[in-house]
Structures are given as structure tokens and as C-alpha cells.
């Protein structure tokens, strides 16, 4: 992959402007919020979302282990306390949905929650959505996505119907690690989806070429999974000292550097790193504050990480 980005300065400034607008539009939530949380507007509604959310792949699949469930609830508490809103899961993630429900109940159902889940079945999608809702124990999902495009031809009409009936607020599709991008593009062009979820990080930038520009053109929000390559990217860079330029974008650690790279693309709505650590979720949420890198800094970040 060539060390280039498709983000020019004007585009970046437009995106930062949208982030600023998001600050103004941010709804009041019941949890304490940092003063300068960077948000992005959901293109189809204008609703503001913090640019950092919380994933649950592997990390929240702790089964019936009470101590581990409490640990996940602590992570969720720190997430909401830091101004977070979007939590993402899937029926594929085994007990993760149930653990999220446990945490939400323990935290008193935080009003700030933006609940994002997926439908992952080849049939009876509506039943699965209802089952997932019961795991979370919420009134409705904010966002329901078709997981890895599985049976999307059947599920998208069903999800659009649910959205029209007020049973969902947004509809999306997902993929990961660069799979089926051609099909993703076709759906983005042909279906009135609100969100697309794809993999993006400082080393995996394929979506910059077509998906992200298309999302901007079509007014589709973008959720970013695997911003740390499931931790592999963090482990790779952690062996190296934090570069001096990290201070110029208000980063105190590598996690914030990597997340700010993702969040600084103006087409990105929210990145969803997953963690089991309260310290790490606080670090991650720190990436939703302070300055974001400009285009020159983004190129510098790519060159630096690729050289490690």
C-alpha cells in the first residue's frame, strides 16, 4: 500500500468544521463529559457522536464469569464517564451482548448510550434482532447493521422496515479486513443505508481510495473497526518511544496517536477500539479530545509507523 492519503487540507478543514458543529449539536447526556470532546455528525441525521466508541469483539466475551463481567462494566463506566456513547456488538461475539446488558443494568442504563449491533444469520433476522435487544435489555437499538454482508439482500429491507416503524434509528452494513469492498460499494450506491463499518488504521488504508470518498458523497456515516489490528499494531509500536511530534496533536500515548490518525479522516464518524482495561479505555477516549493531525501530519504518521 503506498504511503499516501486522499485527504487534502481543505477536506480536512471541512471535516474539522463538521467536528466543531458536532460539538455544538452534542446532546446532553447524564454522564460527566470532557470539555472538548470531538464529535462527528451522523450524515443522515446530524446527530453528533464522539469520534471514539467501544467495540466488544473478544474483550466482552467473558461468559458467566462474574468477576470478568464486573470488569467489563467498569470499562463501560469509564467509557461513559469519558464522554463515550457508541457501543458495538454482534450475535457472533457469543456472550458479549449479554455482558453489555449486564454492564448497562449495573450502570443504571446510561442515557448517553448509542447502541449498535448486528444481524448475523442467514434467516429469521427479525427474531435475532429481538433476541439481541433482550440481551442488551434496551427499548431499541440505535443502529442495526448487517454483519459481514451475510444475507444482506434479505436483511436490509427488513431493517429499513424496522427503521420506518421506529424500531431502529439507523441501518448499516459491515465488513472487516478489506473483504468484499466491491460489494460494499455497490450497496453504498444502491441502498439508503446510514452507516458502513469497515477496517481502517494507519497501516490498512485501502478504504481511503474509494469507500471513504463514496461515504462522503452519499452521506453515509463510517464506523471504523480494528483501529489497532486487534492489538497487534499497539504491540508493534509500543516497543518504540512515543515520537516528539505526538505532542503537537495532543497525544500522550501510542493508542491516541493511532486513534487520532483514524479519527482525523473527515469521512470517519467513529472508531470502535475494544479493550478489557479501564486505563486503556481512558487512553482511547483521550483521542477524542485535543488537536487532530492535519494532512501533513497524517503523512508523517504513516511514514513513521511503516518504518517501525
Amino acid at each position: 500500500m503506498p504511503p499516501s492519503t486522499n485527504v487534502d487540507r481543505r477536506t480536512l478543514m471541512r471535516g474539522l468544521g463538521a467536528a466543531g458543529a458536532g460539538l455544538v449539536l452534542r446532546p446532553v447526556v447524564a454522564w460527566a463529559q470532557p470539555a472538548a470532546m470531538i464529535t462527528r455528525a451522523v450524515p443522515s441525521s446530524g446527530e453528533a457522536l464522539p469520534v471514539v466508541g467501544l467495540g466488544s469483539w473478544i474483550t466482552f466475551n467473558v461468559g458467566n464469569d462474574r468477576a470478568a463481567r464486573d470488569g467489563c462494566a467498569d470499562v463501560m463506566r469509564a467509557f461513559f464517564s469519558s464522554g463515550g456513547r457508541l457501543i458495538d456488538s454482534s450475535p457472533m461475539y457469543a456472550s458479549s451482548q449479554d455482558v453489555i446488558g449486564y454492564g448497562l443494568a449495573k450502570l443504571g442504563k446510561p442515557a448517553a448510550l448509542f447502541a449498535a449491533d448486528k444481524v448475523w444469520t442467514s434467516r429469521r433476522g427479525r427474531d435475532q434482532v429481538e433476541q439481541s435487544r433482550r440481551h442488551w435489555d434496551i427499548a431499541r437499538f440505535d443502529l442495526m447493521q448487517v454483519h459481514n454482508l451475510l444475507a444482506w439482500e434479505d436483511h436490509l429491507p427488513m431493517l429499513f422496515d424496522m427503521k420506518a416503524a421506529g424500531q431502529l434509528r439507523y441501518v448499516g452494513i459491515t465488513t472487516s479486513e478489506g473483504r468484499r469492498h466491491h460489494e460494499i460499494e455497490q450497496i453504498m450506491r444502491s441502498q439508503p443505508i446510514d452507516f458502513v463499518q469497515v477496517t481502517y488504521n494507519v497501516l490498512d488504508r485501502e478504504i481511503e481510495d474509494r469507500i471513504l470518498p463514496l461515504a462522503r458523497d452519499r452521506g453515509i456515516g463510517v464506523i471504523i473497526n480494528r483501529p489497532f489490528r486487534e492489538g497487534a499494531l499497539i504491540r508493534r509500536v509500543m516497543r518504540q518511544p512515543l515520537p516528539a511530534w505526538a505532542r503537537d496533536i495532543d497525544c500522550a500515548n501510542w493508542a491516541q496517536v493511532l486513534l487520532k490518525f483514524v479519527a482525523s479522516h473527515p469521512a470517519v464518524t467513529c472508531a470502535i477500539p475494544a479493550t478489557t482495561s479501564v486505563d486503556h479505555v481512558r487512553e482511547n477516549m483521550g483521542a477524542a479530545t485535543g488537536r487532530l493531525p492535519d494532512d501533513a501530519m497524517r503523512r508523517r504518521m504513516i511514514a513513521h509507523v511503516e518504518a517501525l
Binding site: 458467566n64 464469569d65 457472533m92
Partner: protein, 220 residues
């Protein structure tokens, strides 16, 4: 699954190593002291394999069958399935193996072997002994907690390995029928542990390979 060639083993791992081994820790605490009973049953199997009574194959088959059925329900179905939806299907496989052992070994008496230890398959005996004593010690030796130890009769890996050893000693023409699922489990657990980066990932697959090669060589 489209673009299946782009998937890695790690894409199918739904849980962390910490969660996986905590599962054994909580399971062991829940069923304690059943582990002592199953270890005693394992020792009894070893003794029976070396004795001459005609009925011993049936008893060994019944004990193993009950162990497989227990693991199908108590471990895979009731606990492992909470963090791995595929464990529900694995539970069915373990239940089938348990029923096969009962049917072929107890009902049909197809697990006979040379009497009085004469001509007893020493490789099979060694594998049973390893499953009872050696395999459970690997975890603590490589740094895992004693509370997470995997014991014959209640944990799938040593039970599958011990079953392969018993089958080398006892199952004649029924060997492949009864060994297919234990061998398959050795492959599955090896892949799971390998993906988690466990240093003992190759133990069960290697035992399965030894069993298959030894059995084929002995049949020549």
C-alpha cells in the same frame, strides 16, 4: 462464506486466552471434588486394562462413555458454549462419542483385548498414563494456575487422549469408528490452543498422530 481464503484461524477465535483458562478455573471450582473421583476412575481403567476379567472392556467402555457424556453436558453445553457458540455442536459430538462407547463397548462388547496384560499395547497404556498424570501437569509447568488444571474425565483434552490410548489397547475392528471423534477433537483443541498462542498446543494433535501411525503400523 465468501472470500474464505482471506480468513485466518484467529478470525474464528471468539475469546481471549484469559477467558478460556478462567473457564476451567470456574468449572473446577464448581464440580470439586469430582476431579478426584474421575482420576480414581482413570486409575481403575489402567488397572482393568492389565487384568484378565472378560467383562473389563465393557466396564472401561461404560466409564469412558459416561465421562464423554458428562463433558458434553457439563463442560461444552453448559459452560464452553457461553463463550463459543460452536461448542453446542461440539457437545453433540461428545455426546455421540459417549453413546458410541456405551453401545460398541458395553452393549456390543467390541472393546476386548489380550487377557492378563499379555500382548497389551504398551503404547496405548503409556498414552493413558500420560493423560492421567502428565497432561494435567503441563498447564502448571508452563505457568498456568493450578486451579485451571485439566483433569481426565471432566476436561475434554485428557479425556480424548486417554480414550485414544484405551482404544489402542482394546478396540479391534471398532477402533476407527470409536477413535474418529477423539482424533477430531485433538485437532480442534490443537488449533484453538495454537491460535491462542498456548505453548502446549501441539500436545493433543501429536498424541493423535502417534495413535494413528501406531495403529496403522500394527495392522500391517
Amino acid at each position: 462464506m465468501s472470500e474464505w481464503w482471506t480468513y485466518r484461524l484467529s478470525d474464528f477465535l471468539l475469546f481471549s486466552p484469559r477467558t478460556y483458562y478462567r473457564l476451567f478455573e470456574l468449572y473446577n471450582a464448581d464440580i470439586w471434588p469430582a476431579q478426584i473421583a474421575t482420576l480414581a476412575l482413570g486409575v481403575a481403567i489402567l488397572v482393568l486394562l492389565r487384568r484378565g476379567e472378560v467383562w473389563r472392556g465393557q466396564v472401561v467402555a461404560a466409564v469412558l462413555g459416561v465421562c464423554w457424556l458428562w463433558i458434553a453436558w457439563a463442560f461444552h453445553g453448559d459452560r464452553y458454549a457461553a463463550i463459543n457458540w460452536a461448542a453446542t455442536y461440539v457437545a453433540v459430538g461428545f455426546a455421540v462419542e459417549g453413546l458410541l462407547l456405551v453401545w460398541a463397548g458395553l452393549v456390543r462388547d467390541r472393546m476386548r483385548s489380550p487377557t492378563g496384560g499379555q500382548g497389551m499395547d504398551r503404547v496405548g497404556l503409556a498414552i493413558v498414563l500420560f493423560a492421567l498424570v502428565g497432561q494435567p501437569l503441563i498447564g502448571p509447568v508452563v505457568g498456568r494456575a493450578w486451579s485451571q488444571v485439566e483433569i481426565f474425565g471432566v476436561a475434554p483434552d485428557p479425556t480424548a487422549v486417554a480414550t485414544l490410548g484405551v482404544l489402542l489397547c482394546t478396540a479391534g475392528r471398532a477402533f476407527w469408528l470409536l477413535a474418529a471423534l477423539p482424533i477430531a477433537w485433538c485437532v480442534v483443541t490443537g488449533a484453538t490452543l495454537w491460535t491462542m498462542g498456548s505453548v502446549d498446543a501441539l500436545v493433543a494433535p501429536l498424541v493423535a498422530v502417534v495413535c494413528v501411525i501406531w495403529r496403522i503400523w500394527r495392522q500391517r
